[in-house]
């Protein structure tokens, strides 16, 4: 059974009286342990597609199942639990909570789940060591570089042991050397921990490091929709 299955999924936005067709009839299957890049020009629908997969948005029509669950049928609370337990998020702007230290940011998803502080701390420390910033755990985001913040963001995405990590342009705010390091780290985690990674990018320099490419144009998959 594929981890993600989309059939004829569309997503429309209403801007006043104008309807914007962000996604038009998407058919996509992604299996467990895949390392997938969604790429295409700006406005092609990459972020919208990732929003649907990550259950923070709903399709206008079509079928979408994630880990066997029909996301549209879930209540808001169930969707929150689903995101917390199944999905890790890496954001373009890192989106770390500025008043929390690196360690506290990574502990956050576990504490939302209801884990004890001691347990959350133990797992967060382990993840921070894994992404290579074990010595910066007490620093707040403002005291860290973009690359370090993104590593904290990756540790936060992994701390709940999700089956899927979604990254929306994770390297957009990084220099090319750091961007390559981040992609390599994600790939290493994908291979070592068998976590499915899906990320969007429009940076072609990163594409040779990816196992599977899905190209979007004008809200449609023009290449890579079917598994190769």
């Amino acid at each position: 059974m594929p981890l993600i299955e989309m059939r004829n999924v569309t997503k429309d936005y209403h801007l006043g009286e104008t309807v914007v067709h962000a996604l038009r009839g998407i058919d996509l299957q992604i299996d467990k342990k895949e390392f997938v890049a969604i790429w295409g020009p700006s406005g092609s629908g990459k972020t919208t597609l990732l929003n649907l997969i990550s259950a923070i948005d709903e399709p206008t029509s079509g079928e979408l199942t994630i880990a066997g669950k029909d996301v549209r049928s879930l209540t808001d609370n169930k969707k929150s639990e689903h995101r917390n337990e199944t999905i890790g998020f890496i954001f373009q702007g890192f989106n770390l909570v500025p008043v929390l230290s690196a360690l506290e940011n990574v502990m956050l998803p576990l504490q939302i789940k209801g884990a004890s502080a001691a347990e959350a701390r133990k797992q967060a420390l382990s993840r921070l060591e894994e992404v290579g910033i074990g010595e910066l755990i007490h620093n707040r985001p403002a005291k860290m570089s973009g690359g370090q913040q993104q590593r904290v963001s990756i540790a936060r995405a992994l701390v709940n042991n999700p089956s899927l990590v979604i990254a929306d342009e994770p390297t957009a705010n990084l220099d090319s050397v750091t961007a390559h390091m981040i992609i390599d780290l994600m790939r290493e985690l994908n291979e070592k921990e068998e976590i499915t990674f899906i990320f969007s990018t429009h940076d072609q320099r990163l594409l040779d490091r990816v196992k599977r490419l899905v190209r979007l144009e004008d809200g449609m998959i023009v290449n890579g929709g079917a598994k190769q």
Binding site: N51, S80, E81, V97, V99, A117
Partner: protein
């Protein structure tokens, strides 16, 4: 829960200037209410002592049933006979909480110094019992000259302004005239024992105090108009009214009992006035606190829209977001109240060290302005402010929780 409280505290400290202004507004509002409440508390205490001891009302007053309505028209019919008086005193003093039961009688008439005359209202009291009722009040407003005595029954006390008007100072003589209970005019010589201040400008120009038996002679009666009960603790007033009423009824005495609060019109009026002022002040502070908290939380939510989106994406439920922002509101109320308590303590200490004097309406002399420090009142007020801030934060918090995650994440 602690982790969310910790996060809420840090979020409050995020924008220090804005939070400081909010906390200061809440703190000043808290202090305004608590200082006023401390002042009102002391005024209530003062008015209570003035009514019970100063005016000599005691805690309870027993009259024959119907006295209030018809006593003035047919006084003899609505007064207690000598036997009834002794019976009531015996029954009342059997109670442990009763300190004293004493007969009294009121006389109204004309007092003259031989040249000028004016009306008077006199209370006929048993001198040693009156001393007990006055208690420490006698030190606060001492009688100039001598007090009433059992030996010299025609010796009277006269209120300050009445004394001034008739030049009746201690050791001077005069005459009092009043109708007896049967309607005949009676006159008796008096000698001024002492001059006293009633504490109230409304009574200071007409009040006198007679020996109880002298007042009986003037009215030509052996009866008592009322029995005044002094309790050991004023908080037993209502309970003892019920007990004594039942007890006297069982003994065949048809009576009515009023409390000092029923009888002291001055206390009731002042209390109502202060309650209205308190409600008015509290309403203003309430609006300020709610508006300030709503504004601060609204700004905070606007600034942290993206963070809300992130927390929701990470799995925080809507009620979790609501809880986080409500907690921030409640903590603003809590810390603001702590600032308020500090301000209250400073004002309280200043007033203790340098008490301002003022003449409150209705009082015949200036008194110190006193603000009480009442810890339980401060605690209740703190709880009120925390709940108020919590409720003020709920609306913006719910708005934050309802935000669309995609829109929130895309917020710049």
């Amino acid at each position: 829960m602690m982790k969310w409280i910790k996060l809420a505290v840090r979020n409050i400290l995020r924008n220090k200037r804005r939070s400081f202004v909010t906390l200061l507004a809440i703190g000043v509002g808290f202090a305004a209410i608590s200082v006023f409440q401390g002042y009102v508390n002391h005024v209530y205490y003062g008015l209570r002592v003035m009514a019970i001891h100063g005016e000599g009302l005691g805690h309870l007053r027993i009259n024959k049933a119907g006295w209030q309505e018809k006593g003035k028209l047919e006084p003899e019919k609505y007064m207690f006979s000598k036997d009834d008086t002794q019976k009531i005193i015996k029954l009342a003093t059997e109670e442990n909480t009763v300190r004293l039961a004493t007969p009294q009688i009121q006389v109204t008439g004309i007092v003259t110094n031989g040249i000028a005359s004016t009306i008077f209202i006199a209370q006929g009291v048993v001198p040693k019992d009156d001393k007990t009722i006055k208690g420490r009040w006698a030190d606060f407003l001492p009688v100039k000259g001598q007090t009433l005595s059992d030996e010299k029954r025609y010796g009277v006390e006269i209120a300050q302004d009445l004394s001034n008007y008739l030049s009746l100072t201690p050791d001077k003589e005069g005459v009092v005239m009043a109708p007896t209970l049967s309607g005949q005019m009676n006159a008796l010589d008096i000698k001024i024992n002492g001059v006293y201040n009633t504490g109230s400008e409304f009574s200071n120009d007409k009040f006198m105090r007679f020996n109880f038996y002298f007042a009986q002679s003037l009215l030509d009666t052996q009866s008592a108009e009322r029995i005044v009960i002094l309790l050991k603790d004023w908080q037993d007033t209502e309970r003892m009214r019920t007990i004594l009423l039942a007890k006297l009824k069982a003994a065949g005495i048809n009576c009515e009992i009023r409390t000092w609060e029923d009888l002291s019109l001055f206390f009731s009026k002042q209390k109502n006035f202060l309650n209205i002022m308190f409600t008015f002040l509290f309403s203003i502070v309430l609006v300020i606190v709610v508006m300030t908290t709503v504004n601060t939380m609204g700004m905070s939510i606007l600034e942290r829209t993206r963070e809300i989106g992130t927390l929701r994406a990470l799995g925080l439920k809507r009620r979790g977001v609501s809880l986080l922002f409500s907690l921030e509101g409640a903590l603003l109320g809590f810390f603001g109240s702590i600032i308020g308590i500090i301000l209250h303590t400073c004002v309280w200490a200043m007033i203790r060290i340098y008490p301002p004097r003022y003449s409150p309406p209705g009082l015949a002399m200036p008194i110190d302005l006193v603000v009480d420090m009442v810890p339980w009142m401060l605690f209740i007020l703190l709880l009120c402010f925390v709940l108020l801030s919590l409720f003020a934060a709920i609306i913006p918090a719910r708005r934050a929780a309802k935000q669309n995650i995609v829109d929130a994440l895309g917020h710049v």
